[in-house]
Amino acid sequence: MSKVLSRRRTPQQWGLLAISLAVLVVLLFPVYWMIMTSVVPSKELLTSSPPLVPPADSASLDAYGEVLESRPIGLWLWNSTLVTFGTALISIVISTLGGYSLSRFRTKAQQAMGFTLLFSRMLPGTLLIIPVFVIFASAGMINNLWAVILVNVAATVPFTTWLMKGFVDAIPAEIEEAAMIDGCARLRTLWQVIVPLLRPGLATTFTYACILAWGDFLFARTLMPNPSDWTITVGIASFIGEFSVDWSGLMAAGIMSMVPMLILFVFLEPFLVKGMASGSVKG
């Protein structure tokens, strides 16, 4: 609103900052509490009035060391990384091609795709896992990371294709027509002319696919019965049901599962808002 005046900080702006900080304290309390729990020994937490800040004399990172030693967290994180990058890269390629086609050519698929997107959101994952298991069991792909990657790609693609269509819509068709008159083939035009212009779209798709694949629990749980093939989310879930939960260790594992997405998110978040803006608000 007050962009023109924004060079000088007004008291009102500092007030907004104060409000934002107060809101963040409430909204991010769960994250704070995870960190806090992970650095305080379990026995000090099991009281009816736990300390609200880590006590200086007993705070330590021991829980991280213990949990890394007692469970294959590193391996689980690595499996998650493979699944996540595999999913994100394949999704980007598929949805760029699909989004370009939906944007530039009028086919019946265009109408069907919007419906498909919403329909895919509507399907209960718990209904799908039995058939998905059957499919991959008959293909002999249980305990195979590719199975998890493929299912996650399938879960991501309806949305990301629609997202990419929005980004391609924003690029004037004249640009590629000019390139094609110069004798470029369609696919080469796409690669050399369109893809460089799609960078914000690619970043948005990448972030979305990463968050979805990294957070997936149901599919990985179903397709990976073998604990050494688990992803980090399946590993964490295995803590929760235990008879006496090691809260410090669980929260330490939880933090470790968040950090990679956090880093990714901080870098790509500006694209995300821009991406949503150009991809979504057209009418």
């Binding site: 900080r9 702006q13 907004l16 900052l17 934002s20 809101v23 769960p30 994250v31 509490w33 009816s48 009035s49 736990p50 609200l52 598929i94 091609l97 086609s101 050519f105 009028r106 698929a109 919007g114 919403l118 329909f119 959101r121 509507m122 209960p124 994952g125 718990t126 209904l127 039995i130 058939p131 499919i135 069991a137 399938a154 879960a155 693609v157 997202l163 929005g166 819509d169 068709a173 968050i211 957070g215 629990f217 964490i236 879930a237 929760i240 049901g241 939960v245 669980l250 929260m251 599962s257 997405m261 956090l262 995300l272 808002v273 821009k274 949503m276 979504s280 608000v281 057209k282 009418g283």
Partner: protein, 314 residues
């Protein structure tokens, strides 16, 4: 995204008429580029739905899921599921859960979006932090909240006791009166950033001179919101509500790790029931039948919402 539900409109003029061979080549090219998308959607949607529907019509003790043909066809699963009074309860709890998540998540998302649309120092750091819960894996969210909501040592009880809102500890997840609230809270936390993201994007697209003009006409802050901001937000907001709503309606990742559907079925939504029928009782046919019923209900809700979303966009 806003025009997902609208019949596809072409924003560009149709291409000039070309020779037929060219048009045909274009068609082949268009469809071949779509093939991977269609294959991916088919893998997760078309074929699994076929198997699920097939399964829902099979009777007998189903043990071999890979060869469904050997089991007799029957309508028995549907008859059992629909006459079971529990189904209505499951549907009701799914609706309570969905509304209970979407309303607060939207309110928080909208408030935050309005705040983040203003200019203030440090906004570049505040914004990613405010959106952060979106990036946290659902299972980690569940783990954090199962600890915070713990009946004996949970910090939420401690804070509520400290400010005097409760006198005794509440067993949030273990009591059937509070369990639904207790699974709604983490879900809200995970879902509000999506609303913020969509709404911030929509707010940034509103031209600043509209506010200028409204101020010159003497519009109050509320009137500016009512007549400038809200009309621009309506369509994206409606769409985000529908997308989130159908997603939450069949959400599993928060309820199951926290309560498993208990206590006393207090948090058994349709999604949890589908899972429990299949993996606790191994009644695959009934599980699939409930799944199909869920799909039909969600589809009906979607059609109803679809109309209002489309109206909101015109």
């Amino acid at each position: 995204m806003t025009d997902v539900l609208a019949p596809a409109r072409t924003t560009r003029p149709s291409p000039p008429k070309r020779r037929r061979s060219r048009a045909q080549r274009d068609r082949i090219f268009a469809w071949s580029m779509l093939t991977p998308t269609i294959a991916a959607v088919g893998l997760l949607m078309a074929y699994p739905i076929y198997i699920a529907i097939n399964l829902s019509f099979r009777g007998g003790e189903i043990a071999d899921l890979q060869n469904l043909g050997q089991y007799p066809l029957t309508l028995g699963n549907y008859a059992d599921v629909i006459t079971d009074p529990q189904l209505l309860g499951d549907i009701w709890r799914s609706i309570v859960y969905t509304v209970g998540v979407v309303v607060p998540a939207f309110a928080i998302g909208l408030g935050l979006a309005l705040l983040l649309n203003k200019t203030f120092p440090g906004k570049r750091i505040v914004r990613p932090l405010a959106l952060l819960p979106w990036a946290v894996p659902g299972v980690a969210v569940s783990a954090a909240f199962s600890w915070m909501l713990d009946g004996s040592f949970g910090v939420i009880n401690y804070l509520l006791r400290s400010v005097g809102l409760i006198e005794q500890n509440v067993a949030w997840l273990a009591s059937s009166d509070t369990a639904m609230t207790a699974v709604i809270i983490p879900t809200v936390w995970k879902f509000y950033p999506f609303f913020t993201l969509v709404l911030v994007a929509a707010l940034q697209a509103i031209p600043g001179d509209l506010y200028e003009a409204a101020r010159l006409d003497g519009a109050s802050a509320w009137q500016q919101f009512r007549y400038v901001t809200w009309p621009a937000l309506r369509a994206p907001a409606a769409l985000a509500i529908v997308i989130t709503g159908v997603g939450v309606f069949r959400e599993f990742d928060f309820i199951f790790p926290l309560t498993g559907g208990g206590p006393d079925d207090a948090t058994t939504t349709l999604a949890v029931r589908i899972y429990n029928e299949a993996f606790e009782y191994f009644t695959f046919g009934a599980s699939a039948a409930i799944g199909v019923v869920t799909m039909v209900i969600a589809g009906a809700l979607l059609l109803m919402a679809g109309r209002s979303v489309r109206e909101g966009m015109n």
